[in-house]
Symmetry: D2
Subunit: 358 residues, 4 copies
């Protein structure tokens, strides 16, 4: 399945070294002004080659919007878009045709489909996320139109973590450093660790924290479409994601109910609010109006700039050494992907919620 | 949305204190012999009142299978089923009509729908999981028919955790203690902790580990239907779930790629296998034939047997004291729910995978 | 697939001679007052045994609503319902276990599933429509709540047809005769024809006309979810349906564009309207505010009260003679099914349309 | 919704005068050799300007396949494709911005979305079918790979009809004349009628007959996904379609059961077959192995080369005269669209049927 969402629904295509990457956004509401420059800006944030700590591939990744807009406003018909694959060196990958890279998708794709596009990881390449960023950019501008803000940041690289909850950090600081961590001092530590790991031909993992501010209460469904289940599905669909938690998450397992319930109070304007937010903005699967906050774990990238023993598709032992340009840490570039997937989940839930009452 | 799955698809209905709980299993393959006694047995495992550490509600929860079988074999038509709600004390809940319990769904349901069924939590009650257990029991017997085994166990209660990976534990030991932990000594520590917490009118969280053994390689989709994303969606749809991780999960964030890649090797029978399993049996979103292993975090139950300050639906402060029977720790009873949801995800992916090649 | 609809979604189960027939209505908006007596009334209209021209099976068909309502109002959670199968004579059907009735589903079910429930047609029985009528009754009351009216009537039996378009007939007259034709004189001709056919042990076909009045403009989607495509899908899912047409339908094939376009005009209130309605209330797949009008063809029932040559499941020739109670003409009893399916399609499109604009 | 299908699923985008038309084919099975020249050939069949009886727009309509294939074989990942819109004269349509063409989608789109792309009909243009033809070409080659043949032909133009059932006609003759009618003499009558109608600035309707040969028994679902309901949905989603019937269709309404049941017989090879095919190859919603045969009604095109009175978007009366190039009869060009939609329905049902049994 290459579609995501129920009403606002992104369908994607494209392999790393095919002709193009692209997608279709269905269910885009009519009447939303879209700044296509900002769509391109989101793609630029995703792009490799932005700093010394990410891949140096010089991909241009220019998006063409092919339909669904007139005079800068959405028309309600689907948004088709493509990004041509410019920087192809398919022959670089010929040796990969019969070799299974450890902890990549080579073996599983071959087992599932009987063949695979071996060039640059094919569909399993991180380039697949280009389409998500475009879809997310449309969703995000729509959410802003209705007063909902989505952002994400790097909250952990290896053992280095941010020390505060999201409320403490300004989202405006996230893009002021290449790590995309809003705490400058911690960001610098993370940057140094990534460079060190890179110098060793190794890679490292980390986490991204996602936040939704201004989300109205009522989004999400009681049983199977719980808002956090949709977010989990969305986040775990990103390459290299290994875990998801929201609110107090795994840490809450060690605590007691008396420590973790969020008491209700009435604010001076007469609105009912929670005094704390262990719930992460979602109760019973439905947003409660508080900030939605979650965390996604990303594994260390599996491509090492070292010799690695593996097998080929006949089961014969062989040695693999990655060439080319690879990220030592996927986390900084995962930030715009987490934002994109979050925006799509929230907009979809927002639209679905219009049908909850007569 | 009250449906789960694509081909094998469970749709459910029912409130805690309505007439009945039930569901429809669509996409159940024809020709599977089903032991309805074992379906009931799974329901009995879910039922409260089984030990001193879980709720003492004496629910009978007898399932009636209403369609889709003939002479003990599935016919390919949908399986309708209901469980009548016998043990209703709706009047117990009259005081709840206008009161929002902290960290429950009362406020969010009321905001979303404009009203809610306040009796016993309505649709947000844990009784909703009855339907999942029935659906899971059909899926599980189908998986066994094709040689795939699913199980789960309690791996953490508060700060007490199992010390070994799942390979060390025998699934046969899981149900030998009320905590459903396969390590008897640790189970006893967990049991004591739960009793202590209960005696204080408090509650505590924990984790459940889920395992799939014998899963063929090839299940799951590359982009949005990644097998672990479906599992995450499934697990996060269970009441009180706060986090999901698979393979090395969040712990992998602190590690390096050189520590976490799973080298391929060829076993004596010529089969390609991974030498380790940091991937948790899934690579690139697709099962690789190794054990699938994941962990789900459950928060402490929000219903405390203490006085708790809250507000009513007009925003006025009030005091709530839960009456009746409530679990001090949801984790032991979550075990069969995790198993049920897992079985449904795996069977659905198994059926979908039949369409991957011509 | 046993579900129908996108937002308002009915899922059904049940065989003719199983324990019960039932379903789940998902996506029922909260806040709709539902008269369950009227739901039962729709079921009574569907029931056999109402007159000499329909089957004399004395089915009681009492519906139990199991969830999703509180104090007579929908809560937004799914509506579960069942109708117990009271009047079972399974042994009547033992001889059918290995015999394929001509133009029934016996052969195709057996080929598809490897087995079938032979008792009374199993899932292919007209009793399956019970669930549709219940789903339709909820949809219909919701539509009335927002000012949309749905009705249907018998417009042809064998060669006897109504002579006027739907605007001429009062829906109040439909149920004044057993044929459900609003023209009393033509209804009487139809009734006589059906009785004559019945006396010969034969059956006869006909058509039902469906109408939606008060439908707002804007329902339906441009490409694949055209409103008339959804109606066609819905109608063709009814047992014995062989054709669907809307507006001028097949007759329009013989005409010219100059005869069939619907000119726009502005009415005295300044509203844009069409001067004629060859379009059947739908243009470009989207309702235009005029009456939606369509026609469904039903074949003669395949069960004859005569000896019929056929084969058994080993391919051996045999003779079949239907016993029991069968309709000589399905059309009068199809009327409430057409209404039910129409109501569900329109409500679903109405809810979906809420997401068309920001 | 701009997607069609469950497993084999086409999603489309594109307006008449936007940058491009295109789509994504999801669920394309891996391992199918695809002749892209034949995909282009199907597009060429759809293209206007092929003869004097169809539009003279000189569209090139070259398809680019962007993903999902390697070395001429499908890989199981989605097929992205686009067709650039080369022949744009958007300024031709400026006067249409505020005018509602009768019996087109102008008014309903504007009502639904609050605005519309007025250039050449936007999304409601027949160019939208380009994507369907590409999707259908992939489905068709896959079906041929497994021995299933799909074709369609013009069976009626105005009052002129073919006189025989489909078995009599050779599909090889369909494309030997511009009308796409396999009876050369009748085709010539149809051609003359279309030319006459064209000379009068008028248009005319007709029907297309669709056929599936070699379809295995077992495709389709019992209740809501009946194979003919899916075909009806597919056909009614084509622009200008007004009706659908299969097997004996509307004509069967006048007949008796004794005239229309299809007796089973055993052929010399021991296979069970029907002696006649009033059922149109589908019984109980499931294919029975006989030829599937249906008919689709198309209305006269609503664009007349005459002055037509209408209103603008403020409700003011105005006169419209179409300029440019328009089809006097849509039926010959609808033939490849009917084939494409049929192929997609059958392949989807074929894949779904793999999940019917364990």
């Amino acid at each position: 399945m290459n579609s995501f969402g129920t009403i606002f629904r992104l369908t994607t295509f494209g392999e790393s070294h095919g002709a193009a990457i692209g997608g279709i956004i269905d269910g885009m509401p009519a009447g939303v002004p879209i700044d296509t420059g900002r769509v391109q800006h989101e793609l630029d944030r995703r792009r490799p080659g932005q700093s010394e700590i990410v891949t140096q591939r010089n991909e241009k990744d220019r998006v063409r919007i092919l339909s669904g807009m007139l005079d800068g406003v959405t028309t309600g018909t689907p948004i088709g878009f493509i990004v041509e694959n410019a920087d192809q060196h398919s022959s670089d990958y010929e040796e990969m045709r019969h070799t299974f890279r450890p902890s990549h998708a080579d073996y599983t794709y071959t087992t599932k489909y009987g063949l695979r596009d071996h060039r640059g990881g094919g569909r399993s390449s991180a380039r697949e996320t280009i389409s998500r960023v475009v879809g997310g950019a449309f969703a995000r501008q729509t959410l802003e139109h209705i007063g909902i803000e989505v952002y994400a940041y790097t909250s952990q690289v290896g053992p280095i973590r941010v020390t505060e909850t999201h409320e403490v950090y300004s989202p405006a600081l996230i893009d002021t450093n290449p790590v995309r961590c809003p705490d400058a001092a911690i960001a610098e530590q993370m940057r140094k660790l990534i460079l060190q790991v890179k110098s060793e031909g190794d890679t490292i993992g980390g986490t991204v924290t996602g936040v939704v501010r201004g989300c109205p209460a009522g989004l999400g469904d009681p049983a199977f479409g719980k808002l956090h289940a949709r977010l989990a599905d969305a986040m775990m669909s990103i390459n290299a994601a290994k875990g998801f938690e929201y609110g107090m998450g795994f840490a809450g397992c060690e605590l007691r109910g008396s420590q973790t319930i969020d008491p209700f109070k009435t604010d001076p304007d007469g609105n009912i609010r929670t005094a704390s937010n262990h719930s992460g903005g979602i109760q019973g699967g439905i947003s409660n109006g508080a900030d939605i906050c979650f965390r996604v774990a990303f594994k260390p990238v599996a491509t090492l700039l070292r010799e690695v023993p593996t097998v080929d598709d006949r089961g014969q032992a062989t040695i693999l050494k990655a060439r080319g340009r690879h990220d030592p840490c996927v986390v900084p570039r995962a930030v715009p992907i987490v934002e994109a997937m979050t925006a799509m989940v929230i907009l979809d839930a927002y639209l679905l919620n219009r049908c909850a009452r007569i």
